[in-house]
Symmetry: C2
Subunit: 311 residues, 2 copies
């Protein structure tokens, strides 16, 4: 992981000062580096001897960072990981362009590794992530979104990169179709679990005491799984409330509290957490097919860590 961090910092460099400044703001702000860890573990578990996995891991983190920069612009977010979002410090323009730069660097790094198959998997993920974001843009402010609709969004915008990050491990280790499919499946299920936990946390998760970082999705009119459950299970009166809050920017004081009350009443948060656990179990099942040992243990821990954030 230390090597990954070094590559990340060196490849975020540029003669254009603003680029490393913004990139480092994000990169050093304590992301969990979960995605690059998947790439490293999924290559190392096959005894991969080389440094291609380190470069691929760094390029995965760059893809993720580029997505964050663009997401903040798209969502008009003010904060990211407890710090001011880059767009609030340097502006939307710089955030869009530095995101583009990091994406370009990510592809250059993948080319350096020289595996066309890894390139195919990661470039495919790149297109799918953007597709998922566009899909979410369409689903935003629409309370008729179904669970299937929503899963399609998060499979694309979040889980596809986890899946790709894991799959390129066996790819550069020269493994066959079965190991690649198992790694991909592990990543996909973990990614879904991860996103659902995030969604639950945005409404305070299982905790009764609400921290200060909650309600962002609600304020942005994002329809996440807790909302899908609560809308489907609620009364007509509830739906009037949800429509006012989420479809028409009409959020008033006390609405978030009422929303959380409704989410609790219909078990919408706890059922979302349950879904996350189910996907976590799915990830562990996929992991059973992969070589056992210290790396598999680390990947199992990643699942436990992900779920533990909410319970």
């Amino acid at each position: 992981m230390e090597q990954v961090n070094q590559i990340i910092l060196s490849k975020a460099g540029s003669n254009v000062d603003l680029i490393p400044e913004i990139a480092k703001h994000l990169i050093s702000s304590g992301g969990k580096r979960l995605r690059p860890m998947l790439t490293l573990a999924c290559a190392d578990m096959f005894g991969y001897r080389g440094d291609g996995h380190v470069t691929l891991a760094a390029s995965v983190e760059f893809m993720h960072t580029a997505t964050l920069l663009h997401d903040d612009v798209v969502d008009e977010s003010d904060m990211r990981r407890g710090k001011l979002a880059a767009r609030k410090v340097w502006g939307n323009q710089a955030s869009v362009l530095v995101g583009d730069y990091l994406l370009g660097q990510a592809f250059k790094m993948m080319v350096d590794v020289g595996s066309l198959e890894a390139l195919r998997i990661l470039s495919e993920a790149s297109a799918i992530i953007a597709e998922g974001e566009v899909l979410q843009l369409g689903a935003a402010k629409n309370i008729t979104t179904t669970e299937a609709d929503y899963l399609r969004v998060i499979e694309a915008k979040t889980a596809a990169l986890f899946a790709a990050a894991a799959e390129v491990g066996p790819v550069i280790a020269g493994e066959g179709a079965e190991m690649k499919a198992a790694a991909r499946s592990y990543g996909m299920e973990l990614g879904l679990a991860f996103q659902l936990v995030d969604d639950a946390l945005d409404y305070g998760g299982s905790s009764a005491d609400l921290g200060k970082d909650i309600g962002d999705d609600f304020r942005e009119g994002k329809i996440t799984l807790p909302i899908v459950f609560a809308v489907a299970r609620g009364s007509d009166e509830d739906r009037v409330f949800w429509r006012r809050c989420l479809e028409s920017d009409g959020i008033e004081d006390g609405d978030l509290e009422h929303a959380i009350e409704l989410l609790r009443k219909y078990d919408a948060i706890s059922d979302t957490v349950q879904r996350a656990k189910d996907y976590g179990d799915g990830a562990l099942k996929a992991l059973d097919k992969l070589p056992q040992g210290a790396h598999a243990d680390a990947l199992a821990e990643a699942v436990a860590f992900c779920i533990s954030r909410v319970s």
Copy 2:
């Protein structure tokens, strides 16, 4: 070219409706398709037999289209090629994300072609373009920008893609270093000429009668070569004027007319056109080293077309 258009339209497709809608808005709005033409001609001139050049040409146009979508967001432009800019129809959010999608598709298509060298050249260009845009962001609203500063910007933001589009032709045709360097040099010089002609046209070019599509750069505070010349050659009083207009958003009625008057007085537009012609000549010289015939003739015509827009 017909094949390129077909690939472009099919690969701009997506199950997410908004994506083809926006992509087609731009793609069908009559861009000149100059960049993909370079790729085709620079492969065909070596007797390349395959269809990789068509796919690469389409991916070059996707990279360009993605850049346009993001540029309009960054420049807050209202119009693009005489139509409403995509961001004015579908919003900044969709423009950012559909740009990302097209970039991802571009890389997927390059991977399909399977040439790591072409991938390296185009991914390098992708990072450099973004770097050039960030550089321009820093140079905007700064009238002390020099000619060298400005050339660095346009070499990155415009000419790098022309150079890459041309270079990948001999690359997939299996040519050696000399032909690749000549094609790259042709593309680079043409790209510089192209951008300088654009810059001159934004102030009406050589024509005395000013059309309606002028002054965009001026209103956006963009420091282009005509401005660099006029600032360097002008009086202290002129610099006060340029500073007020370009550095502090203080444009008033009649300022554009006065700006054009100053640009003419100091031969700033005609000298920019002269520079463009010089780069055009450079492109023709590079072309002399490439195989002569119908394809070289078409590439020479591209230079003449580019210059003819302004004179």
